[in-house]
């Protein structure tokens, strides 16, 4: 049986961390959800890379127990605000995570 990420995370957000890096924060409802997500291959660097059309080396996954959170750090394909960019603030890049099953 699989669990939908959207059912166990209370926050799924994206934002720049500087103009060259995008960060995706997953904040979970409880410790059980956090633990499930931490161990899920759906949240591996390889899988996240495929969702964002990146190489796995451009993806870093960081667990952050104080907030029962997982941070995903991505290289931006285009430096924020360079002509051709889609999202200067990087605040709307969480979409590919919304249908994720763990």
């Amino acid at each position: 049986m699989t669990t939908a990420l959207i059912d166990i995370a209370r926050v799924i957000r994206s934002k720049n961390a500087g103009p060259t890096t995008l960060t995706l924060d997953l904040l979970f409802n409880d410790a059980a959800g956090f633990d499930l997500a931490r161990q899920s291959p759906a949240l591996s660097a390889a899988n996240i890379a495929s969702l964002y059309r990146l190489a796995p080396s451009q993806v870093e996954i960081i667990s952050y127990p104080p907030a029962q959170a997982i941070k995903i750090v991505l290289d931006r394909a285009i430096v924020a605000g360079t002509p051709g960019d889609r999202d200067v603030y990087g605040a709307q890049q969480h979409g590919p995570l919304l249908n994720l099953s763990l």
């Binding site: 961390a17 500087g18 964002y52 907030a67 999202d87």
Partner: protein, 466 residues
């Protein structure tokens, strides 16, 4: 006696340091400072007031052009509020990253407003301004010596990048603010600055442990964003020798251990470390404890002094003039074919304007409803019944950009594609002209770290008595 000496006399006793209250009035001055929380903050008799006024977030235009992202009128009103508030209770006011991007024109516009307000409100104080424009020769020498490093996914810095940039700023740390305060400043207006330095400079100068001081600064610089529900209201940080307390000045906003800890994630590539010119803040040992429903106590952050000073630099370079074509589409067949239509029209336009527009120019079409926002890994399961087409054109001159956009408009409107039934036109224009001139375009050409031997020469101070 300087304002800093007064704080020292009040807070530093032979028995130890008394609790220091820092009021964060705004995480982005110029978008309105909520009044009730700010007044509640003043009533707490803070020892200083800090505001952040800028960020790299809004993109390269502001750094490149020298313009503010905020409206002049709202910015002036916010500055008046915090200046009058700080002078009314006689405590220092510290503002970092003046005028959105903190380069010379942003600092100058902010200082002009401060001087006007001081005159019209009959305020008298010692004003220190700190510039953050990096000397180009110093940067080029650093590039040549291999003392620069890219921050994230950006090309290595070159001396050409440095020559071509409209503005290059460096983020100052606590050192620059402390120099201004030692010079007797009551009000400090800084160019590009670390958000943390605005709030950590005074505590560090008074001898409070830098770890908790820097951690408090990192949390309070965004005001009440670290609370539930998050908001822009003023936030009070109270620091002692062991740790600090976070207290939103809006009673509906609760600072919980979870909400405050989660704030370490926000806009940070690494939730456990914050890199500053003078060292690194480590928060992996931090503990977050509820004092009551509204306040949170934090302790345990550690400061590691740097063995090598570094400055984070930001540079923006002009890339051309921008025109934007805006149009909708409600035809399912046209929407389905739109990616191919746009590719075909771009080829036609490039051929048509080759004789009249100076090359090179850039065309970036986007179809909202398909992939205008996200570069999706797979096609949508279902096509949307409407879509919005936006074509960004960057060319050497305004006239060239307009030429490309207008020709693109006409050929996109009437492009024939297999299966077309709506031969009156492929686009719905909400207004005309549908091509909009969007001004000069910039890109970030520098987002790098530079190793430096000394910080003070990079961030000179100017003092004036108003």
């Amino acid at each position: 006696m300087t304002a800093l000496d007064q704080l020292r006399a009040e807070l530093v006793t032979p028995q130890g340091r008394k609790p220091l209250r820092a009021l964060a009035a705004s995480g982005q001055l110029g978008y309105g400072v909520p009044d009730a929380a700010f007044q509640a903050g003043l009533a707490q008799q803070p020892h200083f007031i800090g505001c952040d006024m800028g960020s790299v977030d809004p993109g390269p235009f502001y750094l490149g052009s020298g313009e503010l992202a905020t409206s002049i009128e709202v910015t002036r009103s916010d500055l008046r509020k915090v200046l009058c508030g700080a002078r009314a209770i006689g405590v220092p006011l510290i503002i970092g990253t003046a005028g959105t991007a903190g380069a010379a024109p942003h600092l100058a516009q902010t200082l002009a407003m401060v001087r006007d307000i001081a005159q019209s409100e009959n305020l008298h104080f010692r004003l220190a301004s700190i510039s953050a424009d990096m000397p180009r020769d110093t940067l080029k020498a650093a590039v040549t010596a291999g003392r620069t490093r890219a921050l994230g996914a950006i090309a290595p810095l070159t001396t050409t990048d440095i020559d071509e940039a409209s503005h290059i700023v460096g983020q100052m740390g606590i050192e620059a603010f402390q120099r201004a305060l030692e010079a007797g400043a009551d009000v400090v207006i800084a160019g590009r600055a670390c958000d943390t330095a605005v709030f950590a400079a005074i505590p560090a100068a008074l001898g409070y442990p830098i770890g908790p001081a820097m951690h408090m600064a990192k949390i309070i610089e965004c005001c009440s964003i670290c609370t539930i529900p998050g908001g822009r209201d003023a936030l009070l940080g109270t620091l002692d020798d062991e740790g600090f307390t976070i207290d939103s000045m809006n009673p509906i906003r609760q600072a919980t251990p979870m909400s405050v800890a989660a704030h370490s994630l926000y806009e940070q590539g690494d939730p456990y470390r914050v890199y500053e010119p003078e060292g690194t803040l480590h928060t992996d040992g931090a503990q977050y404890t509820a004092i009551d429903d509204h306040r949170c106590r934090i302790s345990g952050a550690r400061w590691e002094p740097a063995t090598q000073f570094t400055v984070k630099i930001e540079g923006a370079t002009q890339v051309g003039e921008r025109a934007v074509l805006l149009a909708g589409c409600g035809d399912p067949r046209a929407i389905a074919a739109m990616p191919e239509i746009l590719t075909a029209v771009e080829a036609i336009v490039r051929e048509l304007v080759a004789g009249s527009v100076s090359a090179p120019f850039q065309i970036y079409p986007k179809v909202y409803g398909i992939d205008g926002v996200i570069n999706w890994p797979t096609p949508a399961p279902q096509q949307s019944r409407e879509a919005f087409v936006m074509v960004e054109v960057i060319a050497a001159t305004r006239a060239d950009a307009k030429s490309v956009a207008t020709v693109f408009k006409q050929y996109l409107l009437h492009h024939g594609f297999p299966g077309r039934i709506s031969t009156g036109g492929n686009l719905a224009f909400p207004f005309t002209p549908p091509e909009v001139m969007a001004g000069t375009a910039y890109r970030f050409s520098a987002y790098h770290v530079v190793e430096v031997d000394a910080l003070a020469p990079l961030f000179p101070i100017h003092i004036e008595d108003l």
